[in-house]
């Protein structure tokens, strides 16, 4: 999985592409979110538009990032989950936990 970070106002928008799976994407995601939090960037928007799928480890890492951000006084929100990722978020009922947006501008404004 690849990540690119953009700063929009005070929000760090992390564009993710590829898959968030055990031993690969989950580690990349964790490292990137921790790096941002440790650098004082507490408003994080994970853009999932180009994530093809996740497995349970990837889903778990999303939850871990959400909790880690909250511990540090930050927030993680999600943008544009793709078909399979959306299915998984709904299946696991995490759709009700995360704030999820279809458009970037309202997502950024929500922080």
């Amino acid at each position: 999985m690849k990540t690119t970070v953009r700063t929009v106002g005070q929000v760090s928008v992390v564009d993710l592409s590829g898959k968030i799976t055990i031993g690969e994407g989950d580690v990349v995601l964790r490292d990137k979110v921790l790096e941002l939090l440790d650098g004082g960037h507490s408003k994080i928007l994970l853009s999932l538009e180009k994530v093809s799928y996740m497995d349970s480890a990837g889903i778990g890492e999303l939850v871990a990032c959400f909790k880690k951000a909250r511990e540090k006084g930050g927030t993680v929100k999600l943008l544009k989950p793709s078909g399979k990722v959306e299915d998984l978020l709904q299946l696991t009922k995490l759709w009700e936990v995360f704030e999820i947006f279809d458009e970037e501008a309202p997502a950024v404004a929500s922080f």
Binding site: S56, E61, L88, K93
Partner: protein
Amino acid sequence: MASATTVKLVISNEVRLVDVVHAASETVAGIAGFEEDDALNVAIAVREAVINAIVHGNKMDPSRKVEVRLQARPRSMSARVRDQGAGFDAGATPDPTAGDNLMRSSGRGVLVMRAFVDSVEFKFREGRGMEVTLKKTRAGDKTKSSTRPSAAAADNGGMER
């Protein structure tokens, strides 16, 4: 009727090899005639079974193996994943979508498996480890079907793994 196409894999107990099984599962699902999206569903379900086998069944022990048998038939596919662990009670683990479990960072594997294939069966054989068998029939060949994961899995299949 054409005979089944079978692929057997024996992998070392390493999570980096999960992708190998995932790719093989997608290929075999394609041979069984599944469309791309359903083939990915099958591969994700098999992937979860293999992760369980490596992490929970074999407890990350590098000396152990995971055996996978993938079988394509004209209208269906099955996958059998066997570890070398001590087994577990598939019915005794918590629902990951319930209450405080929702925010746990693990425990969703079986839920995902059950959602992405038609049936998941757990069987422990003394001396042979835990065996998980997943089956899926092509959507057009079932009386009632959906290519989307089953929401029912969230209601009755939630378990720790």
